[in-house]
Symmetry: C2
Subunit: 324 residues, 2 copies
């Protein structure tokens, strides 16, 4: 069952999404029993499937939207996404994701490491048979970007990053995959070069808006979710945009070191959350997300007026409008 | 500097190996600084390079041995091999490999996880542009086999495996990659089907002979290397062929549980090594390795008589003749 099933933007591509969900559950076939069990665990609640939805919608702007080939790209990129989450959860020592136990929590770090390798391999095997080398290159570039972003995180010095450094990190870790979905699908379906470029720009802005919104929710979400979906980045000492803006807004130079320090007490965590929420940094970050949303919507103007374009605009609205 | 540089089997393909070493050191270019440093660390002492040597020699039996394409396959499979070692060293908590600190020891488990992902991605990017889909499929199948073998290891029950279960594990973890090098290169170079099959059979037998020899050296190697290159598998409770044979030869049913138990004292470890060495199990495992060596050499009979065939035979001799 997808989350956000009330959303209308799925409507034009329901059939493809249904087929994709079936194929994702089938990825374990023929593999080791533990891999099969992990695949069932990962894909029986596949989440919002925003990335494949972007693939299917974007392919509609092409002249040759071959259903089978587009499905392969969607599955490949969703597997890249899932593999990177499985590996990130090891690095982040995360026990749950979207209220579901992570692979490392259900089995072990060792199993999660190999399951991630397996999923990456399945993703590449699907990408390798795509008929356009430039789309295969996009998939590979996306994985390099994810690795660069993750290496940035694990080797980061314990100090507050600049806004630019933050934006570079989320472009690598989130927006590059969104851009690959939109641009790759359009290329694969032989869309006009200007439509390919517009969809790539849309995907990048959408991904940035998505990640900033996630980071806003992490500090501004409901207190009832404290420690689960709220305050996690802060607890880890991972500085996000609302925190960077909070330091700037308050002018308090002691705030940066407090934010990035690891092993905070629950009291310090609550105190910091209060300071950040009171600073105006959250509102400023929300506005930044909205400006990327507007960039995404503006990029769509280059596309022909079709139901799929409306759906892409709805996705942009949905991404910044999420309450959780 | 390659180990075993005195060996003559490198001679026919020295030029390709030299170019490959240059390209391996260049894999980090454009990547994150930590990835670049890890690549320099991994490839400045590239080891024996047996796998690429097999690729270059096997391609010579084709009718169209395109140098650039064959180099891409060799680099791709060497990167697959290196990536899987980097990830295995995390799972095995290994600090050194061939007397060189592992990536997890030099940096951290987190860095090693991402460096491995990066290397796999580079490997696939190279494989994806190979002109034959069946060779791309061989690379993907090899990664699935490595993952299956590794999942077998980490999910294995703590009991002595059968000889068949052991052989299946080393076929997945070692021999499949050797077979891919030989068979993939021959396919890529448009060799005759019977030569492709012969090289595939040679690679599988060679890989089995190689791994059994490794496992023999782990229990029978020089006492001076105890704890470094000797006794490691036994310390981990990882049962190998000489141990399986030792249980069979002695008829001592308490020996199996002692071998697979983790956290042995140094005294218990030395005692077990002595029992295994005295049992005749080591000699029997060595004979098994030699019989796979003979199978490998026999498979070469189907190939035309050329210097490259002599080199492949020398590699088989070298693999079972290693002191370490």
């Amino acid at each position: 069952m997808r989350g956000a099933t009330h959303s209308t933007f799925y409507a034009p591509v329901e059939a493809e999404l249904h087929e994709l969900e079936r194929r994702l559950l089938d990825v374990g076939r023929g593999g080791h029993a533990t891999f099969q069990a992990a695949v069932r665990h990962l894909f029986s609640s596949p989440g919002k499937l925003l990335r494949p939805t972007l693939v299917f919608l974007s392919a509609r702007f092409g002249t040759v939207p071959d259903r089978e080939i587009v499905l392969n790209l969607a599955q490949s990129l969703e597997l890249v996404h899932t593999a990177s989450l499985v590996h990130d959860d090891i690095v982040d020592r995360a026990d749950v994701r979207r209220n579901v136990p992570t692979v490392n929590a259900m089995w072990s770090d060792d199993v999660a490491l190999i399951v991630g390798d397996y999923l990456f391999a399945k993703a590449y095997a699907l990408a390798a048979v795509l008929p356009k080398p430039e789309v295969i290159a996009i998939v590979a570039q996306t994985v390099f970007a994810l690795c660069d972003g993750e290496l940035n995180e694990v080797t980061m010095e314990r100090r507050l990053p600049t806004e630019d450094a933050y934006l570079e990190r989320i472009e690598l870790k989130t927006a590059s995959l969104y851009a690959a979905c939109c641009q790759g699908a359009a290329l694969l379906a032989d869309a006009e070069p200007e439509h390919v470029a517009a969809l790539g720009a849309y995907g990048t802005s959408l991904g940035l808006a998505f990640q900033i919104t996630d980071d806003v929710l992490d500090v501004a979400g409901d207190e009832a979710d404290f420690g689960k979906t709220v305050g996690r980045e802060l607890a880890e000492g991972m500085a996000t945009l609302p925190m960077i803006y909070a330091v700037d807004e308050t002018g308090d130079r002691s705030l940066g070191p407090r934010i990035v320090s690891p092993g905070k007490s629950p009291e310090e965590l609550r105190e910091l959350l209060r300071i950040i929420r009171d600073s105006g940094g959250v509102e400023r970050a929300r506005e930044r997300a909205l400006s990327f949303h507007d960039d995404a919507v503006a990029a769509l103007a280059a596309l022909p007026d079709r139901p799929e374009r409306d759906a892409l605009r709805e996705i942009a609205d949905f991404v910044v409008g999420r309450v959780r």
